[in-house]
Symmetry: C2
């Protein structure tokens, strides 16, 4: 995993104009902010980024806008996985040609309970269809939302068959048993979807974390990794405690709608507040209340 | 529901060449065959048609190929629903401009447990984005696969708000309670996804059935509806018995892979046998065994 990003990666949310198109200047401004505040990279068009609520052509143009705004493509791991080989390859080729660090690929998530061989064949054919030596794939395991997970044996088989291509994995299952199993796959750069077990994951060789919290609290999460890497485990553990307390507080709210409402409060731009259907918006008052609490308890969004 | 198709509609499967592209001549030949054998229409790119395994541009070109092969667009209700408003509108506008009877729309199926208002807003925005008076929508309820269903209250609300547009619904839930609830929505043309409760559904005003079995057994299913409409309920019930026995037999096999294997046996073209990943293929021997049984017991595929 020599080339994988080490640290905190933000799965940035996607802001929309009233007509449903991506509000590009808000999108790029937020990406620059999290990178300035401690993230080593961004993962646009993940679950948090409402990737599957955005049309294919707009996903590509918004990714280009991030690059044109001055974000180095090698700091981006965009979500490129849809339900079919052709369009997944289309998005992945586009990201590869743009110079992105990788393409994060959901399993095909329409048919449920598909056999392991079917999932393996799917990825093998995506790789073949992309047809680019520069392709780097990050597998994405989030069974509670996608309805289809990435079985550990399939991830291992793909890593072994395509060691130059299948370089990373994000595990958003929230299961430590799952986390540990993926962390045991040789040479795979594993990122947990939650920063709560970050210390334990780093001990097992995790590359970092790709967590929704990185959109609000990137500095302290990055600090845990910095102190860990410097050999200061006590210092890292102290910061981890605050980092975990923040996550626990946030877990009481609907993740994507509340993140977007908080960014609307912080930026003063109401466009941030509204996810695309079918996701609902969080009422403004709830966002203001939580923003106040985050400012008081964690010094986050203190300018709001 | 004056303009909805009355009868049996076949959700036709999609055959692929080795490179994953649609095998157009096999596709159109099968569509012509089921229409000649008793179907009143076809529903390409449904779940059976592996719609979500096919890229957007190819879905549109394959639909055009069906029309160019001489199938009247007013006999086609293609699946046009993906996970986002923009591409769902793109496919629906294309189908509308082609003159199709309607566009069948899955609920957005990535995020689970979304609120009813979010689903309603999603369809309302699709309708607005399509921007065509000729748009006719068939809702599609298949929660066991999509992971997101069409709640009865949302279907009723959409029907009432857009009576010229939301004209039909396919219920593949397999639940009679669900079937009956949708059949109770005024003016909605309801098609069950199974022909087993066809008689009961017709009694409650069903428009027909859109069933995978229509790809193999269209004549007898159409005969049930013809006899029912002619007032011969005893005759209809006798045919229904055989129709249900066929369905029960088929339920013992993986639906899409076995249908495709049987068509490979019947046509002698092995391309039919292979679904796109992640779906697996059924071994040739199993297909031959079942084909023999279908020929013996039901006179289906007797030429094989």
């Amino acid at each position: 995993m020599a080339h994988a990003l080490r640290g905190v990666i933000a799965p940035v949310p996607t802001p929309f104009d009233a007509d449903g198109s991506v509000a590009t200047e808000l999108f790029t401004a937020h990406a620059h902010r999290v990178l300035a505040d401690g993230c080593v990279g961004i993962a646009p068009f993940g679950t948090t980024g409402e990737a599957n609520s955005v049309g294919l052509s707009e996903r590509m143009s918004a990714l280009e806008a991030l690059a044109q705004s001055g974000i180095a493509p090698e700091r981006m791991v965009p979500g490129c996985g849809v339900t079919n080989i052709a369009d997944t390859a289309l998005l992945s080729r586009h990201a590869t040609d743009l110079g992105c660090a990788g393409a994060m690929l959901l399993p095909p998530f329409y048919y449920k309970s598909v056999p392991d061989d079917g999932l393996y064949d799917y990825y093998a054919r995506v790789i073949d269809t992309v047809g680019r030596d520069g392709l780097r794939i990050y597998l994405y395991h989030i069974p509670q939302i996608a309805g289809v997970g990435m079985p550990v044996p399939v991830a291992r088989r793909l890593r072994e068959a395509f060691p130059e291509v299948v370089v990373g994995l994000k595990d958003s299952s929230g299961s430590w048993e799952s986390n540990a199993a993926f962390l045991g796959i040789d040479g795979l750069a594993v990122y947990l979807g939650s920063e709560k077990p970050l210390m334990e994951a780093l001990e097992l060789g995790a590359a970092g974390t790709i967590t929704v919290s990185a959109n609000l609290n990137p500095g302290p999460i990055a600090e845990v990794i910095r102190l860990f890497d410097a050999g200061d485990r006590d210092g890292a553990a102290r910061v981890q405690e605050r980092v975990s307390a923040f996550r626990t507080l946030m877990e009481g709210y609907p993740t994507i709608p509340m993140l977007k409402r908080l960014l609307a409060v912080a930026t003063g731009d109401a466009r941030w507040a509204a996810p695309l259907p079918p996701l609902p918006a969080v009422p403004e008052g709830e966002g203001r209340d939580l923003a106040r609490r985050l400012a008081d308890e964690f010094g986050i969004l203190a300018a709001a």
